[in-house]
Structures are given as structure tokens and as C-alpha cells.
């Protein structure tokens, strides 16, 4: 084992009073950071370093990449929800002037399982020729029975999407679904989590609350479509891709095409949104590379909006049946949930681990099922599982609090073990004015206001397969490098802040080079893990480079290296700051043009709760509590979210401006999920009828409530930066907070999403015929 040393860390929630924690840490780790108030750049509002490029249109997104000789690719897609491919003749397409490569993605006899499933692809000199080539493909489809509605798919006589042999098998990691579960009809599962004895727990309950909740299918609707430019050459493959995980895509490509890792390069500069849907190579990525390999030229493949909405992933819909048992004082005795969800032809439509982890309950059971339907495959989307899961459970808790005659916050104070959320409830209640909250439906008049609360929980993920490099050049310039990609959250700025803090420079002095697998592997931008994964090794690397620089400076300053500090652009003697060297002059002393340190993510100091290949989970979950204030027009059914107070924790916040923006975005995505978004499948034709942004409705600026964000500083002494993520927690609590507020406004509980005027009017009994 490596040598260790003992350090005392500030620990606790700064806003609630700090304590300390003593940790045994590896000897090479930097010393503990004090709370943010004592730091220069960490925790401060630093504007996005690449912001200038974004506001001037200079940022290059994958859809903007143009390579010499680049071909344009398009898919031929299955027009039917279920079909047998009878014939696929690509000869005419191949022969077309200007077509450079044509590949079949299915063979005659193959079963096609959703409308939009890729069948063939072409690459041609222009998009127009590619379209002509598609039209020249002679494909015949024999329609087969199909089912697109989850409830219909559960019926015993429903057309089968798969047979047992062909059904997806699940994943050893259990994500998005566990392997080895039975398939009966279109239903796979249940995946069971059980502790204690639920039956006994319900028997011991003074009160039992039951409820059924339904959530819709949501599409990611990234503004930049899924896109790739693949450039296959004799000496290697370069791929420009709008991806959340450059190094993951590189691994997939190397394995798939039998290439050594060092012959595959994945690059992304600007990335126009992902939200989980751009985490893998995908069929489109694989196809573009294959076309480039065949044509010997670069190939661009970018989905159009229709393709984006039908075949670029979606958040699965769910149906949840919930039972909750409690003692009169609120103590939970039992919690049982049975869920059915659909990710179309894919797996992963569960309700996550939200209910399993958030409240203290000795007797617990979830039975989660996947239901196959003939629709495009779902995939992870911002808080996968937990977002629909929280919508159900947080409403059930609200119902329980009312039945118990307890304030929803008081009930949570009793059953929620999280210290962070306790503090978040306190702060949020104050900000929103919780004491103004009235009894359900008590507002007179047609427009009724109400207030609600809901909580968030997400795991503190860490990618352990992460490294980064810090370089100091002899002219004093500094670089931070990693393959990590900026999905829009501003990780590059966060990196510059960390390096600047260590080197005593300004964030703008640091050149951050990311989004390229030529640099050390940076890990994915998903699962709220990026900051947690990359900032600790970055700080360690910067500390090491500084030490090397310090050795040169120490000689010059006649001091011991450990007497020095880097502050305000200078290397100076701590006890005598007048004795100092400009950082640049210290760099000039280097014996070589460039020094550098590469560091990888060390384990969290107290270890991890769970380890997976390449990743791990920290001990303490991420919290978050959101309060919503709504106005419901009981005569039109229109809900207006007027205000949201979002109080969150993410360990040590590095950049409050970026965090606020991300939380505001998460909240608005939650508002949009709660009130507007819904994939509409026509049950008779099996086609999505709103595969556009006209009838698939995304919240606009007029739908935006006032959003107040509070970020706690929750220090745990866990790593060199103690920082964790925020993306998913910001989204998870919003819809249930709004739903609870709507209940408080009108006194009637809405149990399905989205809460559109028709749903509200129906709940109020106002849809009877006149």
C-alpha cells in the first residue's frame, strides 16, 4: 500500500455549522481545502471561459464540422411499427451517380420492431443525392400485428414484440435492467428489491395509503440533433461526434471495428445538449463509421428533427402502484411499489432507487417490470428511474402527511435521515414562505393558488477511470487537458478554476483543452459525475506541477520549497510575501520547455459505498428539496407554475453561477415534464404523431417560473476537491413538487403526467358532456 498521512478536514454543512473529520489519506494527496469563503476561485461566480465563442457563434458543434470530400449519409427507416423485411435491394441505390456507399442494416426475413428502425443507410456526395439513393432502395415490408400502448401490451392476447429468445437480456451491472428475469408475453420482470417483511409492516401500520401514478414518455429533444462525422483512414479513425462520453465511444469503436485504441480518436467541441441520449456510440454512430470505411471518405450523419424524436432515445413511461404504511407519528412501517414501465423495444423502464433509499422504512419491496411495445428504444434521461419514481412516491408521502394531519415538512423531518435535506427543507420553507400555505383547495375564486414540496435523491457517482494532465510551459502558460467533454455545464471553466486556485493564477490564465481522446481519459458527462470525477485528480496534478516549479523557485528565493505558496500570480515565501517571483519568471527557470503531471481519480478518502468497473458510488447520496407555487385556473384547467425554490447540495460547490444555471435548467425541464411534454403514439397506426417541436411541446420563456436557487456547501472531506454533481437532482423533485402544489391549490390529486388542461378539468369533474 502507498504511504498515508492524517489530515483534519472541515466537514458539515457550512450554512448549518461546521465541524471536522479526520481522514487517513494517501501521502500524495494535496492538503485539505478550507471552506470556500477562504478560497480565491472555488465557489465563485466565474463566467464560462468559452462563453465568448458561444455568444459570437464561433463554437463548433458536430453539425458544423465540414471535412474535405465529406459525404452525407441518411437512413432508410422502417415505416411500420412491426414488420417483416421481405425484400431489400440496394443495387439501384449503389449504382446511382454520386452515391458512394450503401449498407443494409437488416436482412430479408428480419423482424423490424418499431417505426423508425434503421433498415439501410447510404452515403452520397450531397444530402440531395443521399435522398435520391434512399428512394432508389427497393424495400418491401410485410406488416405484422403491433402494440404501442403499454396497457394494451400487458393484455394476454397482445401482439408480441419479442419472443423469449429474442428479448433483450439485461446487463450484468443491472443498468438499465438486470439480467435473467422472466419474460411473459410483453412483460419482463419483476426485478425485486426487498428488505424486512412488508406484510408484517403493513399489519403494524396505523394508517395505509395507496395510490396509482402514471408518467408519460418524454423525449430528450436536444436542440443539436445526434450527429457524427466519421473519418476512416488507413492510419486510423477520427470521429467528430456530439457525445457525452468521448472515451467511452472510443472504446466502443475500437472493439467494434477491431482497431487498437491508439488508432481511434473521438473529438467533440460544442455539444448541443444530451441529457443522457448521447452516451453511447449508437446505431447512427456505428453506421457512419462503417459508411466511411466503405467509401474511404469522411461521412457526416446528422439526424433530422423527426428522426431525433422517434429514434434518439426517450424517458420511459411508467405506471406505479404504491402502498405506504405508517404509525400515527409518521414513522414508516412498510412501503411496497409495483411498477410497469415501457422503454419501447428496449429495457430500463424502472422507477429507480428513489423509494429504496430516501426514507427510513424497515419493510420495503419494489417489483419493477419492463413492458415491451413497438416504439423507439428508451434510454437514460436526466435522473433515469428516479424522476418518474419521485413523481409517485413524493405524492404518496404528501397524501400520507395529510392523512396523518402532519405538515409535509414535519413528516419528512421524521422519516428522512439526510442532514442535507433537513437543512434544505428549512431554508426552502423560509424562502418560499411555507407558513403562508393554506389547506387544500382553500383559495376562493376560480384561480386557486397552492404550494407544494418534493425531494430529490441521486447517487454521488464517481468515474474512477478518469485522468487529466496539467502542464506548465516555460513562458508561464498553463494547460489543463482531458478527454472530458463540455455538454454545456461548463466543466472546462470548473477545471480552470481548480487549476487557478492551486497555481495562484486567474481562471482565464489556464488554457483548457478537452473533448478529445488524445488527452487523458476524462470520463462521461452523465450521471451527475463529471465534476466529482475530474476535479480531484486535476487538483492533485496541479499541485504536483506546482511542486516541481516550486523547487526551481525555491532556489531563486533562497527558501525551502515547502515555505512557498502560489498567490496572485506569484510564487512567494509564506512568512515573507515580499520575497516572491512572478509565476512567469518562475516558469522561465524550468530546465525544459514544458513540465507536466498526469493524475487519475483516487478513491474517495473514506472509500466508496459501491464499486463498479470504471466507476463507483460515494457514501452520501445527493439531496435537494424543491418548493413550487402554482396557480390553477379551475375553469380552464390551466396550471401556471409561478415560483420554484430549489435548494440543493453537491458537496463543495465550485462555481455557483454554473450551478444555478444548471439547476434552473433542471427545474424548467421538470416544469416541461410536469405540464407539457408527451410522446403521442397513434394506437391504430403505431406511429408517433407529434415527432416535431410543434406538437411535442417544450416549455418556452413564457412558461418559466421565477426560479430561486440555493446551493449548500456540504463538506465531507471525501476527496481533494470534495465536489459532486447536480444535474439529475435538479430535475427529479420538480414534477412532484408541482403536483403537490396543484393538490394544495385545488384539493384534488392529479396522478398522471403531463398535467395538461384536459387532465385538470377531468380531475375536477368538468369534462362531462353538456
Amino acid at each position: 500500500m502507498t504511504a498515508t498521512r492524517t489530515e483534519i478536514f472541515s466537514a458539515g454543512i457550512v450554512e448549518a455549522g461546521l465541524g471536522t473529520v479526520t481522514r487517513e489519506i494517501p501521502a500524495g494527496e494535496p492538503p485539505p481545502w478550507p471552506p470556500n469563503a477562504e478560497l480565491t476561485w472555488i465557489g465563485k461566480d466565474v463566467p464560462r471561459l468559452n462563453g465568448r465563442d458561444k455568444v459570437t457563434g464561433a463554437t463548433r458543434y458536430t453539425v458544423d464540422v465540414r471535412l474535405p470530400g465529406m459525404l452525407h449519409a441518411r437512413f432508410l427507416r422502417c415505416p411500420l411499427p412491426s414488420a417483416e423485411l421481405r425484400k431489400l435491394d440496394t443495387a439501384a441505390a449503389t449504382a446511382l451517380d454520386g452515391a458512394r456507399a450503401v449498407i443494409a442494416l437488416a436482412r430479408p426475413g428480419d423482424r423490424l420492431r418499431y417505426a423508425g428502425q434503421p433498415v439501410a443507410a447510404v452515403a452520397a456526395l450531397s444530402p440531395g443525392v443521399a435522398a435520391e439513393a434512399l428512394a432508389a432502395i427497393d424495400a418491401e415490408f410485410r406488416p405484422l400485428p403491433f402494440v404501442v400502448d403499454m396497457d394494451e401490451a400487458r393484455a394476454p392476447d397482445a401482439p408480441l414484440v419479442y419472443d423469449e429468445a429474442s428479448a433483450p437480456k439485461g446487463n450484468p451491472s443491472g443498468f438499465p435492467a438486470a439480467p435473467g428475469l422472466p419474460v411473459v408475453g410483453n412483460v419482463r420482470g419483476p426485478a425485486v428489491v426487498r428488505r424486512g417483511d412488508p406484510a408484517q409492516g403493513f399489519a403494524a401500520a396505523d394508517i395505509v395509503v395507496e395510490g396509482e401514478y402514471r408518467t408519460q414518455v418524454q423525449t430528450h429533444s436536444c436542440l443539436e440533433p445526434h450527429a457524427i462525422v466519421a473519418d476512416w483512414r488507413a492510419d486510423g479513425l477520427t470521429v467528430y461526434m456530439s457525445t457525452q462520453f468521448t472515451s467511452g465511444v472510443r472504446q466502443e469503436l475500437a472493439a467494434l471495428f477491431g482497431l487498437p485504441l491508439n488508432r481511434v480518436r473521438v473529438v467533440v467541441d460544442g455539444m448541443g445538449g444530451g441529457f443522457g441520449s448521447k452516451s453511447q456510440l449508437g446505431v447512427y454512430g456505428r453506421t457512419a463509421v462503417e459508411l466511411s470505411r466503405l467509401a474511404g471518405l469522411p461521412v457526416r450523419l446528422a439526424l433530422d428533427r423527426h428522426e431525433e424524436q422517434i429514434d434518439a432515445g426517450n424517458r420511459p413511461g411508467t405506471f406505479q402502484r404504491m402502498r405506504l404504511g405508517a404509525k400515527r407519528d409518521g414513522t414508516l412501517t412498510a412501503l411496497a411499489i409495483e411498477s410497469h414501465g415501457t422503454a419501447g423495444v428496449a429495457l430500463g423502464a424502472g422507477i429507480g432507487f428513489f423509494a429504496e433509499r430516501i426514507y427510513t422504512c424497515p419493510n420495503f419491496e419494489t417489483l419493477q417490470h419492463d413492458v415491451f411495445v413497438n416504439a423507439g428504444p428508451g434510454c437514460a434521461m436526466r435522473g433515469p428511474g428516479n424522476t418518474p419514481g419521485a413523481y409517485g412516491l413524493e405524492q404518496a408521502i404528501d397524501t400520507l402527511s395529510e392523512r396523518l394531519g402532519l405538515d409535509p415538512l414535519a413528516l419528512r423531518d421524521r422519516i428522512d435521515p439526510s442532514k442535507a435535506r433537513r437543512e434544505e427543507r428549512r431554508i426552502g420553507a423560509e424562502r418560499i414562505g411555507w407558513s403562508r400555505r393554506h389547506k387544500p383547495g382553500a383559495d376562493p375564486g376560480a384561480v386557486k393558488r397552492g404550494m407544494g414540496v418534493a425531494q430529490s435523491l441521486w447517487m454521488s457517482n464517481v468515474q474512477t477511470n478518469v485522468a487529466c494532465e496539467v502542464r506548465v510551459l516555460r513562458d508561464g502558460s498553463v494547460e489543463a487537458l482531458s478527454s472530458v467533454q463540455d455538454i454545456g455545464t461548463g466543466i472546462g471553466t470548473v477545471m480552470a478554476q481548480v487549476v487557478a486556485e492551486v497555481l495562484g493564477l486567474r481562471p482565464g490564465d489556464i488554457t483548457v483543452r478537452i473533448g478529445d481522446t488524445e488527452f487523458p481519459p476524462g470520463g462521461p458527462s452523465y450521471g451527475s459525475r463529471t465534476t466529482a470525477s475530474i476535479t480531484p485528480p486535476l487538483r492533485t496534478a496541479a499541485t504536483r506541477v506546482l511542486a516541481e516549479l516550486g523547487r526551481e523557485a525555491a532556489r531563486m528565493l533562497n527558501a525551502a520549497p515547502e515555505e512557498l505558496e502560489a498567490r496572485e500570480g506569484r510564487i512567494r515565501v509564506k512568512s515573507d510575501p515580499g520575497r516572491s517571483l512572478a509565476f512567469r519568471d518562475a516558469a522561465a527557470l524550468l530546465r525544459t520547455d514544458r513540465i507536466s503531471a498526469v493524475e487519475s481519480r483516487a478513491d474517495d478518502y473514506p472509500g466508496f459505498r459501491r464499486r463498479m468497473p470504471d466507476a463507483a458510488m460515494a457514501h452520501e447520496d445527493l439531496g435537494g428539496v424543491q418548493f413550487a407555487e402554482v396557480a390553477v385556473d379551475t375553469e380552464t384547467g390551466a396550471i401556471r407554475v409561478e415560483r420554484v425554490v430549489a435548494v440543493h447540495d453537491c458537496g463543495r460547490p465550485i462555481n455557483r453561477l454554473l450551478l444555478e444555471s444548471q439547476v434552473q435548467g433542471g427545474v424548467l425541464m421538470g416544469v416541461s415534464y410536469a405540464l407539457l411534454e408527451r410522446r403521442v403514439m397513434d394506437r391504430r397506426t403505431g406511429l408517433m404523431v407529434n415527432a416535431d417541436l410543434e406538437h411535442y411541446k417544450l416549455a418556452g420563456v413564457h412558461d418559466t417560473p421565477e426560479i430561486e436557487v440555493v446551493i449548500l456547501e456540504n463538506l465531507q472531506g471525501n476527496s481533494a476537491t470534495d465536489a459532486y454533481g447536480i444535474a439529475e437532482p435538479a430535475n427529479i423533485a420538480t414534477a412532484p413538487a408541482i403536483a403537490n402544489a396543484v393538490y394544495n391549490a385545488i384539493g384534488v390529486r392529479l396522478t398522471s403526467l403531463p398535467m395538461t388542461p384536459d387532465v385538470v378539468l377531468a380531475a375536477l369533474g368538468k369534462t362531462g358532456r353538456s
Binding site: 465568448r52 428533427r305 444555471s661 424548467l668 425541464m669 426560479i707
Partner: protein, 158 residues
């Protein structure tokens, strides 16, 4: 398949004369992005709902995905690339940068152009007017809060 040569269209682009071939059915967004390489103007929805392709034509906000290049003959077109005159960010751009009106940034050029057209006709707009001016633009990341703040700040700074 011999194609007829495409007619040359003449217009002003960001203050410069521009002559560019474009067929009758060619859209301005294609001309800007594909022919001229001005890729700051984005395409998001293909249908006029997202506003990412907002440009100014004779100072008025319009969608390049619903404008044929041929219609631009003789007109003045401004794109995001034209706002930072001489490399200096405009006040709107500065405000979007400093107030973090961007996240992934894909909607940003369209958002800024829509706001620019508002500020030109109404230099000191109310928040309501700002929201209305931005109501044709979608953002999936920021929650719009900081976008509205940025426009308010730019208006105040004007």
C-alpha cells in the same frame, strides 16, 4: 445528371456585399451554413418552432429555415457572426457571456439575434416585452432565467 447553374443572389451579409449561387428552393439557412460556411446560425427543429436559425433581415428577426435565399435579393442580412464588430462583443453578447445566458450554447445565436431585433426597436424593453421577443426561441438547458436577465442587463447598459 447535369444541373442547371444556380442563379447568383446578391445581398448584404453582415455589412458586406455577398454574391452566392442558390436555387429557387434553397433556404437561407442552407446558403449561410453550407455555401458560405457561416455556421453560427443553427438549425434545431426544421419547422420554425425553435428559433435557433434566427437572423435579422433588414433589422427584423426572421427564421433562416423558413426563408428562401432568393427572397433575400437586395436585402441586408445579419447573423451572429456580424454582431461582434471588429472582434468586440456587442453589449448583448457581453451580457449573455457575463450573466451566463448560455449553457450548451446551441440556442444562443438565435436567442441573441431575437433579442437584438427587440433592442433595436425598443432599447429599454420591459421584462414582458423581452419574454415576448424570445417566445419564438427554445432553450433546453438554461431554464431561460439567465437569458432574460442577460437581455435586461444589456438593455440597462444601453
Amino acid at each position: 445528371m447535369p444541373n442547371e447553374p444556380e442563379p447568383i443572389r446578391h445581398f448584404r451579409l453582415n455589412g458586406r456585399n455577398c454574391a452566392v449561387p442558390a436555387a429557387d428552393h434553397t433556404l437561407l439557412v442552407e446558403t449561410l451554413r453550407e455555401t458560405l460556411g457561416h455556421v453560427g446560425t443553427k438549425q434545431g427543429c426544421d419547422g420554425g418552432e425553435c428559433g435557433a436559425c434566427t437572423v435579422l433581415i433588414d433589422g427584423v428577426a426572421r427564421l433562416a429555415c423558413l426563408t428562401r435565399t432568393g427572397e433575400c435579393e437586395g436585402h441586408e442580412i445579419e447573423t451572429i457572426e456580424g454582431l461582434a464588430a471588429g472582434g468586440r462583443m456587442s453589449r448583448l453578447q457581453r451580457a449573455f457571456h457575463e450573466r451566463l445566458g448560455t449553457q450548451c450554447g446551441y440556442c444562443t445565436p438565435g436567442m441573441i439575434m431575437a433579442a437584438e431585433s427587440l433592442l433595436r426597436r425598443d432599447p429599454h424593453p420591459t421584462e414582458t416585452a423581452i419574454r415576448e421577443a424570445l417566445s419564438g426561441n427554445l432553450c433546453r438547458c438554461t431554464g431561460y432565467v439567465k437569458i432574460v436577465e442577460a437581455v435586461l442587463e444589456a438593455a440597462g447598459a444601453g
